[in-house]
């Protein structure tokens, strides 16, 4: 992690903004703050941010209009919308306005952090890579095959997509909700730990016969796939 991520928080609740700024700083992310839609638009247009965290209800210019205006000005900084409106159709309108992700309030900070990190690293994400590698694990997106130490690991289609998403965001925390959204493409509350069961099945397949664990559970946040040996 050479360059630190820099984000803009557009939020009119000053207390919430201060809390977010502090929490992001502790997570190693630098943040600026704008307290209304107009100044948020100005700052987002003048400075280069990695991610914008935009509240939906803002004075002087609402969040959705801010995003539409940014996109109109050809500024494509990833935007995460925060909103007290957490319903399905709100998400759809939010994403339609040009937002990249949508998080209903109240949320766990870990959830927000994980999403911001994924959005911020998106630029460098190996979207074009046909083969993802983490340690000795190899996922071939074209051939739909997974190998570890050269040994083929047979996976169900959904397990493959799960692993694909985890490896695409290797080294980053992905939350259960992010997995449900990106691997299953549903945004509802599954009530129980259904995702955990899927992940543990996947884990047993890719780790059972090998020494080093790759897929780990991040307490209170989610999962991360990472090769410990490459970490310095």
């Amino acid at each position: 992690m050479v360059t630190r991520m820099k984000i803009l928080i557009v939020e009119d609740d000053l207390e919430a903004a201060a809390y977010l700024a502090k929490a992001f700083r502790e997570a190693g992310i630098v943040s600026d703050h704008a307290s209304d839609g107009e100044s948020g638009l100005f700052m987002a247009s003048e400075n280069a941010y990695d991610v914008l965290v935009v509240d939906r209800m803002l004075p002087r210019r609402d969040g959705l209009s801010l995003i539409s205006e940014l996109r109109r000005r050809d500024i494509h900084t990833p935007v995460l919308i925060l909103s007290a409106l957490g319903q399905v159709d709100d998400r759809v309108t939010g994403l339609r306005a040009g937002g990249d992700d949508y998080l209903p309030k109240p949320y766990a900070f870990n959830e927000l952090l994980a999403r911001v990190e994924v959005l911020g690293r998106r630029k460098g994400a190996p979207e074009q890579d046909m083969v993802y590698r983490v340690g000795d694990l190899e996922l071939d997106r074209l051939a739909h095959s997974v190998r570890r130490q050269g040994k083929e690991i047979p996976l169900q289609p959904r397990e493959f997509r799960l692993l694909e998403y985890l490896m695409k965001n290797a080294g980053q925390v992905v939350t259960r909700t992010m997995l449900l959204e990106n691997v299953w493409d549903y945004h509802f509350d599954p009530q129980t730990n259904v995702i955990d069961v899927h992940v543990s099945r996947l884990r047993s397949k890719i780790e059972k016969d090998f020494d080093t664990p790759l897929l780990r559970t991040v307490r209170g946040a989610g999962y991360m796939i990472k090769d410990d040996r490459t970490e310095t």
Binding site: Q87, V88, W184, D189, Q191, V194, V197, G220
Partner: protein, 468 residues
């Protein structure tokens, strides 16, 4: 007075007034037309008769001379219902005939008197009466003038009679209309008064009130019925609201108390690391609260119908398959087997996320309650018949007593009094709301009604689908 004004303003009265005016105009036109036509016809006949008579008289005069003519006229004049005959001198003085007097100058010119004229005639009592007649004047070569005419009193009388009848008929009609106005208008007003009386009560807060219907199925009844249906819906929403606020108070107090206790414990906790644990528990507890609130919000949004805007063609088979796939490992972890029988390619108009959530809730319930049952099978089946797509989720858990089927659909109602299983008590409420939004239905039955303690629960969701 103001009541009369109100009455006059009713639609029934206004409409009937308009009809009355239109009908009267038609009647007047008809009567004038009929009388005018019959008058013309009669005049034509009269003229023809007079012409014939004049030519006969001329013939008599030519053949028999003046004396023959006089004889003939005398004979003719004596017949019953005779025509009018006048013989006058060159200056117009009446010499003979059955007419008492004429307007002066009437006999000056030969030919048709263009208009019917008035004349005086003898009556049986030798009095003179003024009548109307039509006549032709004939000039003889000796300077005498002969008038042959026909009395028009009868047709005139007929015409007057018809006119009179018309006036009377119109009067009766007007009176009738007034009475009908009064009755209809008052009736309508009465019913409307009753309706507004009922609505005043409803506005005062008594949502159980309904608008009165007469049972005749008329437009008032239809209006009342649809308003009553609306009231039913409002009552249900209101009841739901009341229930929710009541239950929120009851059901959220418990976890909030727990939350507070834990926070207190964490605050007074010794520095043995238990503080972190307590805080984590607090977060888990508040997450559960947030989840409850989210579910509540979702139910009310779905019930209010705002999510209906996001309806599109969705592959129901796909959603069912996705849900089965999503929940199957969790079920297997609890030694439950999921058997799926999915009919492929069933497309309905719906909201994918909400159907997913509803099915997810059912799967979650099935896994939660069937755990440890003797028959560890959860069966998800999908069928289609006509224009109905049916999805059933059946488990072999303890099931629900039959009389509780309606109860468990209510918010926060949980049979498990001890609250030993995690859950918000909102799962089935949301499923019901989602089904209602999709204009479908939700029924609960026992999977094995005869089984002693494992009757199980079968939840049947019926979606309207396009007939194939």
């Amino acid at each position: 007075m103001s009541k009369l004004r109100v009455l006059l303003r009713t639609t029934a009265v206004r409409l009937s007034a308009l009809y009355l005016v239109l009908f009267s105009l038609c009647a007047i036109f008809l009567v004038f037309y009929v009388t005018g036509m019959s008058e013309r016809l009669l005049q034509q006949q009269t003229r023809a008769a007079i012409t014939t008579e004049v030519s006969q008289i001329e013939a008599v005069y030519e053949r028999a001379g003046m004396s023959g003519l006089l004889r003939s006229l005398e004979r003719r004049a004596r017949q019953p219902g005779a025509n009018l005959y006048v013989i006058a001198g060159p200056s117009g003085e009446i010499l003979a005939g059955n007419v008492a007097g004429l307007q002066p100058g009437l006999l000056d010119d030969e030919g048709w008197k263009s208009e019917p004229f008035r004349y005086r005639r003898f009556t049986d009592e030798s009095r003179e009466e003024t009548h109307v007649a039509l006549a032709q004047v004939l000039l003889l070569d000796n300077g005498l003038r002969i008038l042959v005419g026909h009395d028009l009193q009868e047709p005139e009388k007929f015409r007057m009679l018809v006119r009179q009848a018309l006036v009377v008929a119109l009067g009766v009609m007007g009176l009738g209309a007034l009475i009908i106005w009064f009755v209809i208008g008052r009736n309508a007003l009465k019913r409307i008064d009753r309706m507004s009386e009922a609505s005043t009560k409803i506005m005062a807060g008594d949502l159980s009130q309904r608008l009165p219907t007469s049972g005749s199925g008329d437009e008032f009844d239809r209006l009342s019925e649809s308003l009553n249906a609306m009231l039913g819906r409002i009552e249900k929403l209101d009841e739901g609201l009341r229930q929710v606020s009541d239950n929120i108070a009851h059901d959220l107090k418990t976890p909030l108390t727990r939350l507070r206790n834990k926070a207190e414990a964490a605050l007074s906790g010794k520095e043995d690391g238990s503080q972190t644990g307590a805080l984590e528990e607090i977060i888990a507890e508040s997450d559960q609260l947030i989840r409850t609130f989210n579910a509540l919000l979702m139910i009310s949004r779905v019930e209010a119908g705002s999510a209906a805007a996001e309806m599109s063609d969705v592959d129901l088979s796909r959603i069912v398959a996705d849900c089965v796939e999503l929940y199957e490992p969790a079920a297997e972890d609890k030694a439950l087997k999921v058997e799926a029988d999915i009919l492929p390619g069933v497309v309905i108009s719906g909201n994918r996320e909400l159907i997913g959530q509803a099915l997810g809730n059912l799967m979650d319930n099935a896994i939660k309650y069937a755990e440890g049952s003797t028959n560890p099978l959860i069966r998800v089946a999908m069928t289609k018949s006509g224009n109905e797509a049916v999805v059933t989720v059946a488990d072999h858990g303890p099931g629900i007593p039959e009389d509780m089927y309606r109860e468990v659909l209510k918010r926060f109602v949980r049979l498990d009094e001890s609250r030993s299983k995690p859950g918000t008590g909102l799962g089935l409420s949301l499923v019901e709301a989602v089904m209602e939004m999709h204009r479908g239905s939700l029924t609960l039955t026992a999977t094995e009604p005869d089984h002693k303690d494992g009757k199980g629960l079968t939840v049947r969701m019926v979606f309207p689908a396009r007939a194939t």
